[in-house]
Structure formats: structure tokens, C-alpha cells
Symmetry: C2
Subunit: 327 residues, 2 copies
DNA sequence: TCACAAATTGGAACCGGTTCCGGATACGTG
DNA sequence: CACGTATCCGGAACCGGTTCCAATTTGTGA
């Protein structure tokens, strides 16, 4: 059985208030300190943080809700958040939702019950239910990757990134282009990024872009690409993520075709694995580390009641690979 | 300010014990139930779980300590653990350590303070300090990926996997082989897997294998490979992980050489991205999902005080890709 | 209608800490 | 040596729940 502060006090021959004071750096004489220290060492005593938090209102835990763990972007952001929070003496608790919206809600409640000081929600879309729940638990919540009016947000500049990609593809001389996107329920990737691409292309006079929808995983992307190529013959395919681009690449090479000779290909993400794949992928890398660091700093400010900028936008840079041919 | 059970009781005109009983399904009359329900709905009341856990000894939270989040293996295992724990009505709290051993210790203590019911430690090596800490916090701990006598463990069969790979490489006719491993402080990968490979090769009479050490990341693996190839000219390189193999592949192609024509290459992992890379990688896939599910089930048994098998070994299967040439 | 059991409820103690308050002791000063 | 002050320490109340126990109310059968 675990020792309590009362046991320690009894063993040291002092009152439990004295032990508590010792633990929290109050006024305790050297001789009593020594006695208490001895007992604590001998018993491996660890204070019960539930009891502590009952009175102290701060736990120094920050919860992070992530849609998945097996994506390059998410894990990079998570690692950066964790690193930065640790520097500020916070502990990060991560919960994964496997992309189930109801689990996001559930996790918000779970974390609030664990009395975390703040929650970073890496989201794929905010619903009314999210809104209600966040209101109900009165804990600061920072939304990452999606833009919502009601909350503080950190987002990628998906529209501009898409725009840049659209423009680039146009300057490379492509006119017959397919866009392989994702569901519109993901506002950032499904809507903004796509709109950016379309507008970037439109600016160059290309308006008849065919768009398709794929899941986020390689396997599905590969299948969708197969269907797409059965009915249309674009010179270039722009994919909403690098993973989707890899899926497309798989299908293309299965069909005995080559990138970029038969089809040009581009993605979004900038995973480091791209360096190994031939041809290297033309893509856009978002500053995921920066997003993570920013998120950590912002949530801390929020827990301290400071005003923070409502909307923060992370940058990106364009990576020109070998997967797009100039026509 | 958040409401407490006392406020609810006052507003409903009953004793707080009655509210508690209502919340936990005790004997409460319909009329009282209705009154309390009404008040709770109006106030958005959420019980303080710290106070709850103070008395109730179970929190239904399981902590998982992972060395990193940006590896295919770790995230796959994590997702599987999470999925299985959720089925059993547990919530998973994940803490990443970024491969710092001291953070593993720190995280064990942090999680014990959060009063999780059990901890799954995905480790890269257990030190004396681990041992002491795990003893001190009296919470069930299950070690995954490393074998330690003192604790319950779930491991991959690294030795057999290595052995299989060694044998295979020998049957393909390779005699001049380099092994690109990792630090021996990682017992499973650094020692057992390597020993398996060496023994597998030795069985075929190949004993003069040169071994080198790389970090786990692509970049470093690429650099080490460069140095290796400056001084030796093997026909095959066996890498301790797929990521290392990708790093080697990068260097090889930078040198204007080809896999498998100039060098045969093999790894361990079986990441799904391998399907996209040409040539596809010959590798060994561990049953990560199975490991995760097993880990979840085992830790639950442990929290319930059941006896569990001291050592559980997960299987693997061999994947023959195009990266090894028959000589 | 009465005795007795079952259902319902309130009060108090408890979980393991923190903190306020007041008394005891030690110390420095005139 | 007496006095004021700073330091140290113990006792008690409190945080927000759960649970035990006893009292009250309700319901049942004879």
C-alpha cells in the first residue's frame, strides 16, 4: 500500500502540515527537514496528485487531441508541441481519435475531467457539437489546422499553398489537369487547399479542372487513381497530400507508365521519405515544427489568461522535385 | 466558476450524498431524480474527477510511454493499443520521450501521479533507474519491445527475424555482406536482431560480416552508408530498419549506383510506403497490430491482478521485394 | 389498522493533500 | 533581563467528491 502524507508525518514525528510545507518549500528548520527527508527517501513517498490538484487549481498538464498518429504531419506537429511544452515545465498528454469525430468530443470531456490546464485540438473539422462541448468544459482550447471563428486557431496557409501549386503547374505548361482531393468535411485540406489550386490555375486561364475525392491513405488513393486514369488522360495530377501522390505513383507505375514522362505529379506535405523516392516529388512543405511550437506557446498564454492573436498562420515553402515535366 | 456537487444539491434541495447517489446509480426516487436531472442540465455540471479518484481507486486511464511518434512501428503499435483499450472502456494517455531515457523515468512518475491504472512502456532499453522507478510507483507496468527478466514483456522475435534474413541473404548467394545496425543500448534491435542476422549467415558459413552503427533516422543512415561504401565493396547490405535501408538507398543512387544491380539491400519493418519505392524493399514485417492488441489486453489483466504470461512473443513474416539480387 | 420490511434520504466521516491561524520557541535589541 | 519580532510548528478547516450509517418515509401483508 502507498504511503500518505499522514504516514510520513507520523514516521517523522511531525504534523502533516509540516511535511506539506517541507514539500512545497515553506519555513521548516534544518533539523526537521533532515528527519522528513530521511523518511521520504526510505519510503519512496510520492504525493497523490489528485489530492494536490483538488486544492491547487493548476496541474501543469496540457492535453492534445490528434486525429491520428500515423501521419507525418501530425506526428511532426505533436513532437514539436511536446518539446516546447516540456521546456515550459508542462507535461503533454496525447489522445488519438482515429479520425472519429465523436471521439474528439469524448476526448475533450475526458481531458477536462483529468483537469488539464488547456487543450490543443488538432482537428479535421469543427461541428456544432464541438462548439457546445468546448463551451461546456470551461478550459482553454486551441484549434490547430482548422479555422473557426469562435476559437483561437493556428492554421496552415492552405489557400496560398494551393494557389502557389496551381500557378506552378500552369507555368510548366500543363493544361489538362486532374485534382485528387479529399472530403470537403475537412475544411482546410478539402476546401481551402483545393480552392487555392483551382484559383491558381484559373489565373492562368485553366478552368476545366477535373476533381476527384480520395481517402487519406495510400491504398485508397491508389485505387481512386486507377479509376481516374481509366476515364481521363491528364498531363498532370495534383494531389492533396503526399501520401495520396504516392498512391497515385504506385498505380501509374503498375500501369507501366512513368512519372513525369507520362504523367506529372505533385503533392502537399514534404515528408522526408520523398527524398528516397524516384522521381523526387514536387510538393509544398508546411512549417510543422513552427506550428507545433506556436501552438504550445499559445495554449500556455491562454491558460494564463493572456490575450492571444485570434488567428495565426504558419508558412510553407515550395519544393521543386523531379515529378513535374515542363511541356 | 465551476459548480460543485454541493451547489447542485442546494439548488435541487437535497443532500449532496443524494446527488452522488443519483450520479452513480443508487437508490433515488423518481421525483428526486427529476429535480436533480433538471439542475444538472441547467448548470452543465461535470463532476471533478480528481475528487472522484481520491476515493475510487480506479481511473480507467492507461498511460503509454513511447520513445517517439514519428516512426511507423511506434505509431502502428500505439494506434492498435488505443483501439483495443477503447473497446474495453479505457482511455489511453500517450507521452512521448523523444528517445531521452531520463524522460522515460520522468514520464513514469508523471503518469503515476495522474493515477493511471497501468502503464505500457515501449522502451529502447531498461536501465537500473527504470527498475527502481517502476518498483517505487506501485502501478502495473508492461514493457513492450524489450525483454527484461523482472517485468512482464511483449517483444518481437528479433533474433528469429534476423536469423531468417541472414539465411535468406546467404541462399541468394551473397558472401560479402555489410550489416548496418544501431546502438547496442537498444537490446532488441541493436543486439538480438543483429545476432540473429550474424548467426543466420554463420550457419551458411559466412562469418566475416562487417558491422556498422547508424542512428535511426534517414539522414544519418545515408551518411553512414556513404562512409561505409568508401572503404568496402559488399554485394549486399542488411539494414536494421527500413528507414536505414532507405537512407542507404539514397546514398547508393546519389553515387550513381543501382539497387539491386550494384548492391542488394534489405531492411526490417515493412512500412507500407515501401510499396511505392522502386525497387520494392526486401524486409521483415512484424505484427505490430497484434503486439498493440496484446499489450492492451495484458495491461488490463495486470490491473485486475490476474496472472499473465511473463514473456509474450509476437510473430513476423518475410516480405520478398526486388531489392535483393540472386548471384 | 398495525407491525415490519424496504426504499429513500440526510448527516457525518473519509480520501490525501494544502493552507490559514495561533501558540511556542528562538533571536536580537535596549 | 524584559520585550518585540521572526521563525517554526501543530491543529483544524477545507478542496469535491464517495460511502457508511442511522433516521425517516413508504409500502406490504395479515
Amino acid at each position: 500500500m502507498n504511503k500518505t502524507i499522514k504516514d510520513i508525518a507520523k514516521l517523522a514525528g511531525v504534523a502533516k502540515s509540516t511535511v506539506s510545507r517541507y514539500l512545497n518549500g515553506g519555513n521548516v528548520s534544518e533539523t526537521t527537514k533532515a528527519k522528513i527527508r530521511k523518511v521520504i527517501e526510505e519510503t519512496n513517498y510520492e504525493p497523490n496528485s489528485f489530492a494536490q490538484s483538488l486544492k491547487a487549481k493548476k496541474t501543469n498538464f496540457i492535453g492534445v487531441i490528434a486525429p491520428t498518429l500515423d501521419s507525418y504531419v501530425t506526428s511532426t506537429v505533436l513532437m514539436a508541441i511536446d518539446e516546447e511544452l516540456r521546456k515550459r515545465e508542462y507535461t503533454t498528454l496525447i489522445i488519438s481519435t482515429s479520425k472519429h469525430v465523436d471521439r474528439e468530443i469524448e476526448s475533450l470531456i475526458n481531458l477536462s475531467r483529468q483537469k488539464v490546464d488547456g487543450i490543443i485540438l488538432i482537428s479535421t473539422g469543427i461541428t456544432d457539437k464541438h462548439y457546445e462541448t468546448i463551451q461546456a468544459i470551461s478550459i482553454p482550447v486551441l484549434v490547430v489546422a482548422q479555422e473557426v471563428d469562435a476559437f483561437n486557431c493556428i492554421i496552415n496557409d492552405d489557400y496560398q499553398a494551393g494557389f502557389a501549386m496551381g500557378q506552378y503547374m500552369a507555368t510548366q505548361g500543363h493544361r489538362s489537369i486532374v485534382y485528387l482531393g479529399v472530403t470537403e468535411s475537412d475544411v482546410a485540406v478539402g476546401q481551402k487547399r483545393k480552392q487555392g489550386v483551382l484559383d491558381g490555375l484559373a489565373q492562368a486561364g485553366i478552368t476545366d479542372v477535373q476533381t476527384y475525392v480520395s481517402q487519406f491513405d495510400l491504398h485508397n488513393a491508389s485505387e481512386v487513381t486507377k479509376k481516374v486514369l481509366e476515364t481521363s488522360a491528364p498531363t498532370a495530377i495534383i494531389c492533396a497530400t503526399d501520401t495520396i501522390a504516392f498512391g497515385a505513383m504506385k498505380t501509374i507505375s503498375k500501369l507501366g507508365k512513368k512519372v513525369p514522362d507520362d504523367y506529372s505529379l505533385a503533392g502537399f506535405g514534404g515528408y522526408n521519405i520523398s527524398e528516397v523516392i524516384h522521381p523526387t516529388l514536387t510538393t509544398i512543405r508546411f512549417k510543422n515544427e513552427q506550428t507545433g511550437i506556436q501552438a504550445a506557446r499559445t495554449i500556455i498564454s491562454m491558460t494564463e489568461g493572456e490575450e492571444v492573436q485570434k488567428l495565426q498562420v504558419s508558412g510553407f515553402h515550395f519544393i521543386e522535385g523531379e515529378s513535374v515535366k515542363k511541356i
